[in-house]
């Protein structure tokens, strides 16, 4: 197949133009062995990789693909994605138990893997030496590495070893970002250390000259890495970056126009978020508590239930640490304990909030939307948090019939059924993640929380336009007129300007008055 024909093939499979082009580049006759795909979460990396895996096995004349994911849930999600894209494709997710069972079926030192298909394995399984040895018994045409984000060094080393050992295998590396704040080439993480990315440094250590074929290099990487894996010196890394480069044309055909629905937090809600900011404001930010505090602030921006749920998780982790049962004992334990102890004071304030102003605005927006188009959902509600999905399902369920939810925990089959049922019943769909998810046609997309990046909205919006037969839905987001939560305001301003929020602004919003700034030095 010629390159344009390959691109057309992938476009006909539902890929966006950039996704189809990336896949066509990957299968071009002179394509480099290693490709890196950089784009923010939710912009379709997994979807593109699933299409590539499917084509690789069914049309590419190859037999086996190995996919390495971060958490185990991601392995199951990728399996679902593959099955939904190609039900005929043989796929297996390897757990430790399945590995033992596969091993027991064959003699020692014999290739134990299925003769054809996609094998998916999570990093925690890959860390076991017997599993890694078993993987080396098979031959693999393609290795897909899905960057898990921050992970521990053992996992990173396990993945690194695999890359060095598969010197003939084609490699597709999916990542959200390659950070700019490190020296290149970087050293591998040492045991017990928590890195920013298990595989981010793979890109510099394992792979040689870095060159851009598609898109630009907006993240300032021009270094060449030369690490211990000299076998990769002749390889090139291709970056797919246009989603990140907000100064250039957007990667999707349409850009969502967002309308803003205002609401005013009631005094009890304001007292709660004000106390939260006051408590965090007295703390000294460090790398670990900054991330936790940021998550908690974002949860507070979503709804009080998500805030309570986040605090609950923090308290459970604190108790595990105090009882010596922490799963990841590390130097950051004291941050978790301090945060948990400081923020527990919020619980009585959460219980004292008698109403939810943001959800009331959401209900008003839905009620204002006429139900007059058969086969179309009344509205789709996006949130960042799974706990907010639970909350909205329960709360909207009190007001409306036919409230549905989509989550990554569902199988592809169940998700399809939910989407179909929701459209038929003209219901309300609440969803969180994954541009790859099926979505029903609708006239109303409600952003209960803002997506982390406006590019994510564009990607999802394109999907809605597709399923709506070219008619864009009305997009509404929510704005608190009392401006009582700083992080919310910072994210909203960045979103309106179609740029990622500035790190310094975020830190200032979460920790407005750190003790060190008050002259403790």
């Amino acid at each position: 197949m010629t390159a344009p024909a390959t691109a057309e093939y992938f476009a006909n499979r539902g890929c966006m133009p950039d996704q189809a082009q990336f896949a066509a580049d990957f299968f071009a006759p002179e394509a480099p062995r290693i490709f890196t795909l950089i784009s923010p979460s939710g912009t379709g990396k997994g979807f593109t990789a699933a299409e590539i895996c499917s084509y690789f096995v069914t049309s590419g004349g190859h037999e086996r693909v190995l996919v390495v994911t971060g958490r185990r849930e991601l392995a199951n999600q990728f399996e679902d994605l593959l099955r939904s894209r190609n039900p005929e494709l043989p796929v297996v997710v390897v757990t430790r138990r399945i590995y033992w069972e596969l091993e027991a079926d064959v003699a020692a030192d014999v290739d134990l893997w299925p003769a054809r298909g996609v094998v998916i394995i999570a990093l925690d399984i890959l860390q076991h030496e017997d599993v890694r040895k078993g993987l080396l018994l098979g031959s693999w045409g393609l290795l897909v590495l899905d960057d898990p984000g921050p992970h521990d060094a053992d996992a990173a080393n396990a993945a690194f070893l695999l890359v060095t050992q598969f010197s003939e295998t084609r490699i597709l590396y999916l990542t959200r970002n390659i950070p700019t704040n490190i020296d290149w080439p970087v050293r591998p993480a040492t045991a017990g250390e928590r890195g920013w990315s298990a595989m981010g440094w793979l890109a510099s250590w394992g792979f040689g000259a870095i060159g851009a074929i598609a898109g630009t290099m907006p993240i300032g990487i021009s270094a060449t890495g030369s690490g211990p894996a000299s076998a990769f010196e002749e390889d090139r890394v291709v970056t797919w970056t246009r989603d990140l480069d907000m100064s250039s044309e957007p990667s999707h055909d349409v850009v969502a126009e967002v309308g803003w629905m205002t609401f005013a937090r009631i005094p009890e809600e304001r007292a709660l978020v004000s106390r939260l900011q006051q408590l965090l404001g007295s703390m000294c930010p460090d790398a670990e508590n900054r991330q936790l505090a940021l998550t908690i602030c974002k949860a507070a921006a979503s709804c009080t239930y998500s805030l309570e749920y986040a605090l609950r998780g923090l308290r459970i982790e604190r108790n595990r640490i105090m009882h010596g049962m922490s799963q990841h004992p590390a130097t950051d334990d004291s941050s978790v304990v301090e945060l948990a102890e400081v923020l527990r004071r919020l619980i009585p304030l959460i219980e004292a909030v008698p109403a939810d102003s943001k959800t009331k605005a959401l209900i008003d927006a839905i009620e204002a939307m006429p139900i007059d188009v058969p086969g179309r959902a009344r509205g789709c509600v996006f949130t960042r948090f799974a706990s907010t999905v639970d909350y909205l399902k329960s709360t909207l369920g009190e007001q409306f019939d036919n409230v549905y939810t989509l989550s990554n925990r569902m199988t592809a089959e169940k998700r399809s059924r939910v989407v179909r049922d929701c459209a038929e019943a003209q219901g309300i769909l609440i969803f969180t993640t994954g541009v790859s998810m099926d979505l029903p046609p609708t006239g109303l997309l409600l952003l209960y929380d803002l997506p982390a990046h406006s590019a994510i909205l564009d990607a999802r919006f394109s999907q809605f336009v597709q399923v709506c037969g070219g008619t864009p839905p009305c997009v509404l987001a929510f704005e608190d007129t009392t401006r009582s939560l700083e992080i919310e305001a910072v994210e909203r301003e960045a979103f309106k300007a179609r740029r990622p929020p500035d790190d310094a602004d975020i830190t200032k919003a979460v920790f407005p008055n750190p003790p060190s700034a008050a002259g403790l030095d």
Binding site: V92, A108, H128, T359, K393, S394
Partner: protein, 283 residues
């Protein structure tokens, strides 16, 4: 070549839930640590200590020759001491694992039922899984206990939550109030003449409905004013209860944590309910 794995994948990758198989009992993070036949016992003991294990397979290449355990070591010391007592002093650290391993045990397969190996586990405290050319894992009596606890604990936690909610309602709503009030909030769930009037006859779902109904403000001092939050939490608990009791799927580690936390939360609410003045009853 078509492997066994292909056959499974052809079945859609759906592995049947086999709760009594040895495969289910092996701790998933277990790394099998082995020693050679000439490993000094000091080294072997250090390995046991480092990994928190009690047994080490003694290997000669791929072949398993026996098992080194604290027990086999103790027996070997006694035997060697008796043998050497008359001639020269005996140094226990002079032994190798080959000198004090116990005989090769019977091998269990991953697909065997662990219930059929109880006698073996009882007599030697462990079970070796695999075959003579490849030891795959070791299962101990404690592994079996942990596994059985893991599959039983969601049921116990849910039962505890249900009892706590029942206790709260019984404190807040005296029987007379219950008889008149409950039909109002369960009317759409049961036929008119079938509405339960006793807490003992109600399900967890019924309890949740009563608590979140909103007509009885006497629950407010217990659960707070955020009724939406309370409803979300209790409905989620009830949904999980239905998933578990109807064996629809396994409880995830996060859900297990949530369940344990729900249990603690409801227990604390029972204490609050118990401390309320009696006159706080149904309004």
């Amino acid at each position: 070549m078509t492997t066994q794995a292909d056959v499974r994948i052809g079945d859609g990758g759906a592995f049947a839930k086999r709760i009594f198989e040895i495969l289910s009992v092996i701790p998933v993070n277990q790394e099998l640590v082995t020693v050679g036949v000439s490993t000094p016992v000091g080294e072997a003991i250090a390995l046991l200590d480092k990994h928190g294990y009690s047994q080490l397979p003694v290997m000669n290449g791929r072949k398993m020759l026996g098992i080194f355990t604290y027990r086999s070591y103790a027996l070997a010391i006694v035997a060697q001491s008796r043998k050497g007592y008359a001639t020269k002093p005996f140094d226990p650290l002079s032994l190798t694992t080959g000198d004090c391993m116990s005989a090769v045990p019977r091998f269990a397969r991953v697909t065997d039922l662990f219930t059929s190996w109880f006698d073996e586990i009882d007599s030697q405290d462990f079970l070796v899984v695999g075959d003579p050319t490849r030891a795959q894992a070791i299962v101990t009596a404690c592994d079996v206990v942990n596994y059985l606890y893991k599959i039983a604990s969601p049921y116990v936690l849910i039962a505890d939550c249900e009892l706590a909610l029942r206790a709260i309602i019984s404190i807040v709503m005296p029987p007379a109030v219950l008889i008149t009030a409950v039909p109002q909030c369960l009317a759409d769930k049961y036929p008119a003449n079938k509405v339960p009037t006793s807490l003992m006859d109600m399900s967890l779902g019924d309890y949740v409905r009563i608590v979140i109904d909103g007509r009885w403000t006497s629950f407010d001092p217990i659960f707070g004013l955020s009724r939406n939050n309370t409803r979300t939490r209790l409905e989620k608990l009830n949904e999980l209860r239905n998933e578990v009791f109807h064996n629809r799927r396994d409880v995830t580690p996060d859900e297990h944590k949530d369940l344990a936390d729900d249990r603690e939360w409801l227990r604390s609410k029972v204490e609050i309910a118990g401390s309320l003045p009696a006159t706080e009853g149904a309004r």
